[in-house]
Symmetry: C2
Subunit: 157 residues, 2 copies
DNA sequence: CAGAGTTTTGGCAGAATATTGCAAGGGCCC
DNA sequence: GGGCCCTTGCAATATTCTGCCAAAACTCTG
């Protein structure tokens, strides 16, 4: 993970469809070196996968919501079960267990309120362990980019 | 946006580095048709861009946090200013204005608590309009995938 | 239901790109 | 300083991309 790797990761997180020649020019190297670096970064699990990002609104899923969840008991078995049921919900893109006065936070892309409520019902209704869920609908997007900054400080690692 | 487009978007959101031949086989079509469909989906803004996803922990940014923010006045000008300052913070990946008893929710990838606090100080300290910010650190990931499900219902659009 | 016009499709060939082997250069440890 | 190992860059080869054309499918009209 030297300075060249950092530049490569930094660029590929923003533009994943560059040719190796373009990438080489952008980072100041050669195509074959870039190819080898990218493959080694993938093998190391630093670059996990290449994806296309899509416009949720144009796919008919413009209703985004952040759902916070509190539970009564949040032990290992219950968390595993929750992870499984969340995984089965295609409308949920992100789901995390968190510290603080909440237990889990979910982010979903819904077609409409009907689908939102149906999803919540499937996830939470009937589960006596869920104390409460609160939904914040996204009304404005200030920033939306999965890129993680590449810190020059880790050149040594 | 017919059934073929939906299959293409569905697959490319998961694997963006397929060759057109592989994509063609996966969706039951031919490479040249896939090329044209992908281009037209990009031009239509349905597929927005192609990126590599990276492992935050391996980039030295394993500390993920969801920060909720409440403000006193959240008018248009203040929201624009907030969007700008959030945009200047590389550690913040997502930032949204939301409905409910919160005004904004941020998600960031931090190197450590020091960087977390420094970022919060830059964003919130000195801004008398920020009533409160509360942080939930992500302790467990149940699901983490930017893919938006492609609903067959929109075949007609 | 037939026919013309329009759009989309599938395959091909040339061009561009990705990939690999090999020799040379540079860094590191002894 | 010498030997070893990793990385680099070039050139050759394999793969993939892409513009083009005829054919098929679809749409609209009479």
């Amino acid at each position: 993970m030297d300075r060249l790797d950092i530049r490569i990761v930094d660029i590929l997180q923003r533009r994943g469809d560059l040719t190796h020649a373009e990438l080489a020019e952008a980072v100041g190297s050669t195509p074959s070196t870039c190819l080898r670096r990218v493959r080694s970064l993938q093998k190391a699990g630093i670059l996990t996968r290449n994806v296309f990002l899509a416009d949720g609104a144009k796919l008919g899923r413009g209703l985004r919501a952040i759902i916070t969840v509190t539970t009564k008991d949040y032990d290992l078995a219950r968390r595993a079960a929750f992870a499984k049921s969340v995984g089965a919900e295609p409308a949920i893109s992100y789901a995390y267990g968190v510290t603080g006065d909440l237990d889990a936070i979910l982010i979903g892309n819904f077609r409409d309120m009907v689908e939102y409520q149906a999803t919540c019902d499937r996830l939470f209704d009937g589960d006596k362990n869920i104390t409460r869920y609160t939904t914040h609908f996204i009304s404005e997007t200030y920033k939306d980019d999965p890129a993680i900054p590449c810190d020059p400080a880790l050149s040594g690692g």
